[in-house]
């Protein structure tokens, strides 16, 4: 990415299993839902009858008051009483999707991006200037869209790119190990380096053809 406008440097072959899988919306949906749910903690709690800090005494005698009979003021039907079936303490909705489904979701998301012309492959993420306007101009001339996800094979990114992209919230940098279905779908375009593509293909195909019982 040395110049603002793109230059064709060559042609590479993309593996059809990684970038050419038939689309499956249900797998993508499962992945996105899992990503939300497995880390979510619900901190709601309603106090039950036993948690209330109130007197346990019978408030008035059984008969003769003209009131409804009551054994304690902590009952659910009383005002300021406990709740029987409310949310009980912090709870988690943790579960793990199988590795098969997760890597299939990644493959489908990548194929979708490629099929819709939102995938671009680049030699490296080095740009000549750290000016954020240079990056904006580059993205505008190449018609890369509103939000771009730059993927490199390592987590140490070039200085200029990091400084320029930090000014924008919609241009984000990720290493290959950080890829996930939600981020791929959230960003309009996906820009990957050659090294990242090779590493990603190797990892996904390895997982796909793994003969492991506990995948």
């Amino acid at each position: 990415m040395d110049t603002i406008s793109s230059e064709k440097l060559g042609i590479i072959d993309l593996h059809p299993d990684v970038f050419g899988t038939p689309p499956r919306m249900d797998i993508l949906h499962e992945n996105v839902v899992w990503q939300h749910k497995y880390r979510y903690i619900n901190y709601e709690k309603e106090l039950s009858k036993g948690d209330l800090d109130k007197r346990r005494r019978k408030p008035f005698p059984q008969k003769g008051m003209g009131k409804k009979r009551a054994g304690s003021t902590k009952a659910c039907n009383w005002k300021y009483g406990g709740s029987a079936h409310g949310p009980r303490g912090p709870y988690s909705t943790y579960y793990m999707l199988s590795k098969e489904k997760r890597e299939l979701g990644l493959r489908i998301a990548l194929s979708v991006k490629y099929a819709q012309d939102d995938l671009h492959i680049v030699d490296s993420l080095e740009i000549p200037s750290e000016d954020p306007e240079y990056l904006q101009e580059l993205i505008d001339t190449r018609y890369w869209g509103f939000s771009v996800l730059f993927v490199d094979d390592t987590d140490i990114m070039p200085v200029n790119m990091s400084l320029a992209a930090s000014e924008f919230g919609q241009y984000n940098l990720l290493p290959v190990y950080g890829l996930n279905v939600y981020s791929i779908l959230k960003h309009q375009t996906l820009v990957m380096t050659l090294a990242a593509v090779e590493k990603l293909e190797q990892k996904l195909l390895e997982q796909m053809h793994k003969a492991d019982v506990r995948k």
């Binding site: 303490g89 997760r102 939000s147 919230g169 984000n172 290959v176 996930n180 939600y182």
Partner: protein
């Protein structure tokens, strides 16, 4: 003959009540109709007069005051959602680190949650037992009432989940129930 006159007046009142016409003017059954702000257009009818005595409030508080610096209770001000803020832009990062990474890390190791809920999903009793096992010594010192309440809750839940459950066996050869 007073009983006769009284009887006649009473009968007249009964007759007036049964007829339920708005023109009866007797003291006993004064009819009051509700005053609707917007009368219903024909052919829709409004309910007839009755003795409920509903009176609509024409004054609903008046218009809001002007030129006063106090806060007016209204809808909350609109806040723009930061979809590309620091946390939301790269939401979901490292969720496939066990597939795409080079180390032994799993997404379960990267969760941020209370210690007894990290990568754990269970019902209330299981959660409470785990909490007391991991943090019970701390809770006993700092929150003794909560400590006691938790153990009582665990006991209650154990009985609720495990006792007085299961279908009673019927239609067995012989009358003795064999478990």
């Amino acid at each position: 003959m007073s009983w006769l006159t009284k009887g006649i007046t009473y009968a007249r009142q009964l007759f007036a009540r049964s007829s339920s016409c708005s023109q009866c003017i007797s003291m006993r059954c004064r009819s009051v109709g509700p005053e609707y702000k917007f009368p219903a257009p024909s052919p829709y009818k409004t309910p007839g007069p009755n003795r409920h005595g509903y009176k609509q409030n024409w004054f609903d508080g008046g218009s809001l005051p002007r030129g006063i610096p106090t806060k007016v209770h209204a809808l909350k001000p609109y806040r723009v959602r930061k979809t590309w803020g620091a946390t939301k832009a790269l939401y979901g990062r490292n969720d496939n680190i066990d597939i795409l990474g080079d180390t032994d890390l799993t997404p379960r190791d990267l969760l941020r949650a209370p210690a007894w809920l990290k990568g754990f999903n269970g019902n209330e009793m299981q959660r409470l037992i785990r909490l007391m096992g991991m943090e019970g010594h701390k809770i006993r010192q700092l929150y003794p009432t909560y400590y006691n309440q938790n153990w009582r809750r665990i006991k209650y839940l154990y009985k609720k989940y495990n006792q007085h459950r299961g279908k009673p066996i019927t239609n067995v050869i012989g009358t003795q129930k064999v478990y």
